[in-house]
């Protein structure tokens, strides 16, 4: 069964991270290969086409669509101000006039001689992309963006909300079992990334937002609190666009779940470093998990991309469902035949030695491998 594996989340003190930073539309790349960039360096810029306004000039002026073009007072392609007259007709020797004013500032893009519809394009919206990860530009994608590379500590979360942010990592709890509570927060945490332990609740998160904390990293969070925080029940897990004033990264899942020892230890060792954090999660069609990146000085000893290896005897695993949720163990056997579970379902299983529990049988689907 060397071929079968369940993808796990990456938690590694040092790996070579590459991040593509791409504009939504073509634009200008502002850096070159070899440039050193900080997290906030603007690497590319573009102008998104502005919003579109439509107006039916034929009906507004009471003329045939084919005659509309001749009634324009500002030609196609011209820039107009809001309220400016853009088309007019005269009747009865110029005594009766109808006029159409532009509803917004913009450019007259087109007029249809079939429908009589005018399309006004509002001014373009500037969009800038920053580097997010402090590092070196290793590739320029002409007109689109760049690839930034840096040796970094890399921690993937399981779910997050809120977009990209930066700050100094501060561990505000004493251990992975500890909850992040209001008394652990202070104004000194403004602009920082706070690592809690097993859990944070809505009230504490609100207080963190009030204090200007940029990010919170914890083991678990209640879905009820998520609903209260967002103001709606999250249906499909596509996040990252929320504007809550904070980025939340869950390392384990929903509920009170002790942060994996290994994750906590790594975050603790990185305390005081600058971290780049993203809450963007998309668990469908090109999975995206939230992440915490801490750029580090290069080390020749471990600068590989790493990766998930196969499921084998001795592989390190974490339970991701059921009674042992969150616990760590090692695979001791991989029986090939299906076995009956407590639910009477038949599934492929594995035998594992779980820390503090002993030997258990688990469905293979209910574990994730942890990079050794």
């Amino acid at each position: 069964m060397a071929h079968a594996y369940t993808p796990g989340l990456r938690v590694t003190p040092q790996t070579l991270v590459r991040r593509e930073r791409r504009l939504p539309l073509k634009g200008d790349v502002l850096v070159a290969v070899g440039d050193r960039v900080s997290a906030t360096t603007v690497v590319a810029r573009t102008l998104l086409p502005g919003n579109v306004q439509t107006m039916n000039l034929a009906s507004a002026l009471g003329v045939e669509p084919s005659d509309v073009a001749g009634k324009l007072t500002s030609p196609i392609g011209s820039i107009v101000a809001a309220g400016q007259v853009i088309a007019a007709t005269k009747a009865l020797f110029g005594l009766m006039k109808s006029e159409v004013k532009s509803p917004a500032a913009g450019t007259i893009e087109s007029v249809s001689d079939v429908t009589g519809q005018l399309i006004l394009r509002e001014p373009p919206i500037p969009v800038e992309i920053d580097a997010f990860l402090e590092g070196t530009v290793v590739e320029v994608i002409a007109g689109e963006g760049v690839v930034i590379e840096s040796p970094a500590a890399f921690i993937q979360g399981i779910f997050g909300i809120g977009g990209e942010t930066h700050g100094t990592l501060v561990v505000a709890v004493s251990g992975p079992d500890d909850e992040l509570t209001v008394d652990r927060l202070s104004p000194a945490l403004e602009g920082q990334i706070v690592v809690g332990g097993s859990y944070v609740n809505h009230a504490v998160l609100k207080e963190a937002i009030r204090l200007g904390v940029r990010g919170v990293v914890v083991g678990g969070f209640d879905d009820r609190d998520l609903r209260d925080l967002l103001g709606y029940d999250l249906g499909v897990a596509i996040t990252g666009h929320e504007t809550l004033g904070i980025t939340l990264v869950l390392t384990e899942g929903f509920g009170r779940i002790r942060m994996a020892e290994r994750t906590f230890r790594l975050l603790k060792s990185l305390e005081g470093s600058q971290a780049a954090v993203s809450g963007a999660t998309q668990i469908r069609a090109g999975v995206m998990r939230p992440e915490i990146l801490v750029p580090r000085a290069s080390s020749a000893s471990d600068a590989t991309g790493g990766g998930v290896t196969g499921m084998d005897i001795g592989s390190l695993l974490r339970c991701i469902r059921g009674d042992h949720f969150g616990r760590i163990g090692r695979i001791t056997a991989l029986p090939a035949q299906l076995q009956e579970l407590g639910s009477e379902s038949h599934a492929r299983v594995l035998e594992a030695e779980i820390e503090g529990v002993g030997r258990v049988i688990l469905p293979r689907a209910n574990i994730e491998l942890i990079e050794a």
């Binding site: 079968a4 993808p7 249809s112 079939v114 897990a237 929903f254 090939a336 639910s343």
Partner: protein, 606 residues
Amino acid sequence: MSHPPEIRSILATDCGSTTTKAILIEKQGDTYRLVTRGEAPTTVEAPFEDVTRGVLNAVKEVEELRGRKMLDGDRILTPQKGDEGVDIYLSTSSAGGGLQMMVSGLVMSMTGESAQRAALGAGAIVMDVIAINDGRRPHEKIKRLRQLRPDMLLLSGGTDGGAVKSVAEMAELIAAANPKARLGAGYELPVVYAGNSDPAAREIVRQRLGDKTALLIVENLRPKPETENLKPARDAIHELFMEHVMAHAPGYKKLMTWTAQPIMPTPGAVGLIIEKIAKREGITVTGVDIGGATTDVFSVFQGVFNRTVSANLGMSYSVSNVMAEAGLPNILRWVSFPVDEVQLRNRIKNKMIRPTTIPDTLEELVIEQAIAREALRLAFQQHKALAVGLKGVQQERTISDVFEQDESGATLVNLADLNLLVGSGGVLSHAPRRVQAAFMMIDAFLPEFVTELAVDSIFMMPQLGVLATVHEQAATQVFDRDCLIRLGSVIAPVGNAKDGAPCMNVRVKHPDGRVGEAECRAGDMKLMDLPADGDARLEMTVEPDRGWDMGEGKGKPITVTVRGGIVGLVLDGRGRRPFELPKDDAKRIEKLRGWNRALDVYPREL
């Protein structure tokens, strides 16, 4: 593509959003039989981002279980040589979110609806329908087009020879939005134009969209108000799906070179099978395939095939959306033990973020099956709303039909006429006891009178659907012998009465001459045994009490033939129109436990 003269073995995979399933079919004597199956997590996503990884893993499992070689490194061995390899390899796919489309028509209830049916018929998920009269202002439509980033757009509208102005208006809206495709930033959005086929109209569309999109112009899907011609649009959608969409999904380019036939969207393949059952047996059928991300419903009533894809109703990726749409109380009403709301919410979200996990305790299974009931119920509701009075491909309908439909919106789906209800998808096919699948379908669909129930044994209808396009005989043989498990029938008179009041008496003559008799009272469920053989035919008489209707009028008995099935005859005296569960929690739990006991649903009381 040419195949070996005699096909000895067929390997087929279905790349679902959560799991990739592989089946191996071999010719044994004169017949094709399923010999084994394997599955592995789908690997469209990071860190693998290559669908072929999951395919190879699933095939590897088949190899191990069958004990013969089918892979040569990262390659499927075809054709079969000696005991190694397989003669054909085929695949279906719904991974990567399936085919996501936006459709547009001029009038919502006319071309808008036809366009939607064409897209759904091709196996797409319809993200939105835009029409001239959809109530949104032009800039709102443009904004929507820009936001959604579909895989493809279907533009219809106008009968042949009709006015071109509205067609131009829609084309101008699309051009102004300049929508981008979901996958691959560098390629143009595929657009199918299947509207007014007058040269002038086509020219306008070409002028407006030719430079900005990958435009394909096909025959009008609604050439006359009373005629619908969906096939050319469906074919074009399939063509562009393969050329543009699949080619940009991770690993599909490679997978496409492995398969003997083009990869088919999963709902398209399942639909083929459902249509075939209805045609062959001359019956009305409703089928459902409940997956991780979507739930597809298929029906054949009055000879008309309809298919809907409920994009965000499913058991893993979309599980949280089932909760958001159904509401927690609707899920909890099916759970036969008290559950803490905070915990249940967390469980559902944990399934969403780790979609490939499976329930390993009985309590978790009960909750999963409660969620499935709601996903099925909602998907069926959506299906009923879309499967309305159009008479399908190339069939005429009169103008008066059009107006009737517009006024009444009458659905074709009539539970009282339903002969067979077929379930597929992990939660139904892999339910540890078949009676659980039957019970989920009964609760979600609420069939009336006499309805036969069946499940896809191990969730292989998609693979058989694509196989039917190349080897009908093999597909039919495996379908009859190994795929369709006949569960029995549900007897559900329409009516209501106080719990414990008389409801119905049922008498069944078994092939061995034995006569089974049972009485079912209002509010109860009962199970009568049947021969497990689905080919067995039995005469059944149902005598409903006064106030209960079995289709012939209140209190009128019926005598019909039913088939055997491994679950048996489920007598459902809980009432219909309306069907209601007790509002009081304690009473509701007592009722659920009673029904679970009566049907022997779980190994212990929960």
